[in-house]
């Protein structure tokens, strides 16, 4: 029995929501999470939030109104923040500063037309290297060269993500199919990556509540256990090259996070029923499938092409379509889908009898890459 649990989940609509401020999105997600857990606002005594793109960069004051928050933290490790907010919440509880911690992320980057990563305040800008997409394109180029792989292999990942989302009414790309040919014929953003190698930028918010498993037993009976977690952050990469660029394997090293998460949970890869890999770019998914051992090095394209990854395969991954096809709430997206799967709320893409889930997050932070993994479960 795990010591801590996710005891409430709130998910807003995802998509193009120009009439809803980031504050309102956060408020809506918090209200939904409280109702889900059966908690009163005043009972929540901890608040951890990740600032988002668009308007959602400030303190999210409205969503905190009426909470009993005794401690409020803004944390940011880019796309890795979702899982790291769980670690932060557990820390606040273990330190005796809070009993119920709300973790929140909201963004309205879509309606604010934010170009992610276009800033000049880094050492790479002088050479015209902008955006996490360009960093991922460097990884992809290296990956193609090392394994004689190609863009068509990454297209398989994009299509598999879409195939899962097509069935889900809550996904932004619900009902919108995608083919490998459409991917291959789509425009480039930063070569060698096509537009369909990139995730969505949408408006939306997610909130969840972390508490002890003991307290969770007094709430609505839907809590999901936090079985084990780990993190790694390769800050040395930038120092090796006097810039903040990251590159694929072997630089992409998830080993410290993977080892700690599985060891703490006392589980192995074969024990995981459903996977939610961070998918800001298709290349990140391919690298993780290989790094976590679902397939061998350089085999991701063939592995997905063979029918794996789909929600109804033996290795179901990213069952909502996540960042590529469901909605862009960064690392919170994958946590929300894992919680839903473990509660049997995955709707048309529910994995039968899912009892354990591996969730990963990646942050391309401008100082190497942050990675985090958590195993959630009902066992």
């Amino acid at each position: 029995m795990s010591a801590y649990a996710i005891a409430g989940l709130g998910v807003t609509a995802q998509g193009v929501l120009p009439d809803t401020s980031a504050e309102q999105l956060a408020w809506d997600a918090v209200e939904a999470a409280l109702a889900d857990a059966g908690l009163e606002r005043r009972q929540v005594d901890g608040y951890v939030f990740q600032p988002g793109f668009g308007e959602a960069t400030s303190g999210m004051a409205a969503s905190r109104a009426g909470l009993g928050a005794q401690v409020t933290l803004q944390i940011n490790s880019s796309g890795a923040t979702g899982i790291l907010s769980i670690a932060t919440a557990i820390g606040l509880i273990a330190a005796g500063t809070a009993d119920y911690v709300l973790c929140v992320h909201a963004t309205n980057a879509r309606s604010q037309s934010v170009t992610v990563g276009a800033g000049e305040d880094n050492a790479d800008a002088v050479f015209g290297l902008f955006s996490p997409g360009a960093q991922s394109a460097l990884m992809a180029q290296s990956y193609f060269h090392k394994y004689k792989a190609s863009s068509a292999d990454l297209a398989e990942v994009a299509v598999a993500l879409r195939d899962n989302a097509v069935l889900r009414p809550d996904a932004y790309r619900y009902g919108c199919s995608l083919t490998v040919e459409q991917h291959q014929q789509s425009r480039y953003i930063v070569r060698p990556l096509h537009v369909f190698d990139y995730c969505l930028v949408t408006d939306g918010a997610i909130a969840f509540i972390v508490t002890t498993s003991e307290r969770a037993r007094d709430l609505k009976p839907k809590a999901v256990g936090i079985l084990g977690m780990g993190a790694c952050h390769d800050v040395g990469q930038g120092h090796r090259r006097g810039a903040s660029t990251v590159l694929g394997l072997p630089d992409f090293d998830v080993e410290p996070a993977r080892t700690r998460a599985f060891a703490a949970a006392g589980l192995g890869l074969a024990d995981i029923d459903v996977f939610q890999f961070y998918d800001a770019f298709t290349i990140l998914v391919a690298l993780q499938l290989e790094a976590y051992g679902l397939c061998g090095p350089g085999e991701a394209g063939d592995w997905v092409r063979a029918g794996n990854f789909r929600w109804d395969s033996r290795s179901p991954c990213n069952t909502s379509g996540t960042l590529h096809s469901w909605g862009y709430v960064q690392g919170f997206t994958h946590l929300a889908e894992a919680v839903r799967q473990l509660r049997g709320e995955g709707g048309p893409t529910q994995v039968p009898d899912a009892r354990t889930a591996l969730v990963t997050n990646i942050g391309i932070t401008g100082a190497g890459q942050a990675h985090a993994a958590v195993i959630l479960g009902n066992r």
């Binding site: 170009t115 990563g117 276009a118 000049e120 305040d121 880094n122 050492a123 790479d124 800008a125 002088v126 050479f127 015209g128 290297l129 902008f130 955006s131 360009a134 394109a137 460097l138 990884m139 180029q141 290296s142 060269h145 480039y188 953003i189 930063v190 070569r191 060698p192 040395g236 120092h239 090796r240 090259r241 006097g242 810039a243 660029t245 590159l247 694929g248």
Partner: protein
């Protein structure tokens, strides 16, 4: 004869210069390419703790670098995220592995972007753009 397009009137993004890399950029401005060499033999593009022997920056001194290297990975921009680069499209950004060991980020020039390959040999040249020098990797090797 150079393949470099005419620069635009926009100012390029500023170089990020601090105490640890000022000698590097001062050398670039003087037309020279230098690296910081640790007493253990490792090279870096800035003063820092050595990742090989863990010595502090005090163990390093600036030395002339050969300027020879190979493309480790690269990307091609067809769209400008900053107006300065509008006139340079399409342009190549690459990680280059220098013969001294370190990797640096730079642009690959003097070649059609579609002809750039991983492993391609390149040589560092100093280019001027709007009153400011910058190191580039020339494929005319």
């Amino acid at each position: 004869m150079t393949s470099r397009p005419t620069p635009t009137l926009e100012t390029p993004p500023a170089r990020i210069v601090d105490r640890a890399n000022r000698p590097f950029w001062d050398a670039i401005d003087a037309g020279r390419f230098v690296l910081a060499r640790c007493r253990c033999g490792a090279h870096y593009a800035r003063l820092q703790a050595c990742l090989s022997c863990q010595a502090g920056a005090h163990a390093m001194r600036w030395v002339s670098a050969a300027g020879d290297g190979n493309v480790r990975s690269f990307v091609i921009f067809d769209k400008a995220y900053h107006p300065y680069f509008d006139g340079l499209l399409p342009y190549v950004v690459a990680i280059v592995t220098l013969v001294e060991g370190p990797e640096i980020l730079t642009n690959v020039i003097d070649v059609e972007p579609a002809a750039v390959r991983i492993g391609m040999p390149v040589r560092i040249v100093i280019a001027e753009r709007r009153g400011q020098n910058i190191h580039q990797a020339s494929a005319r090797y």
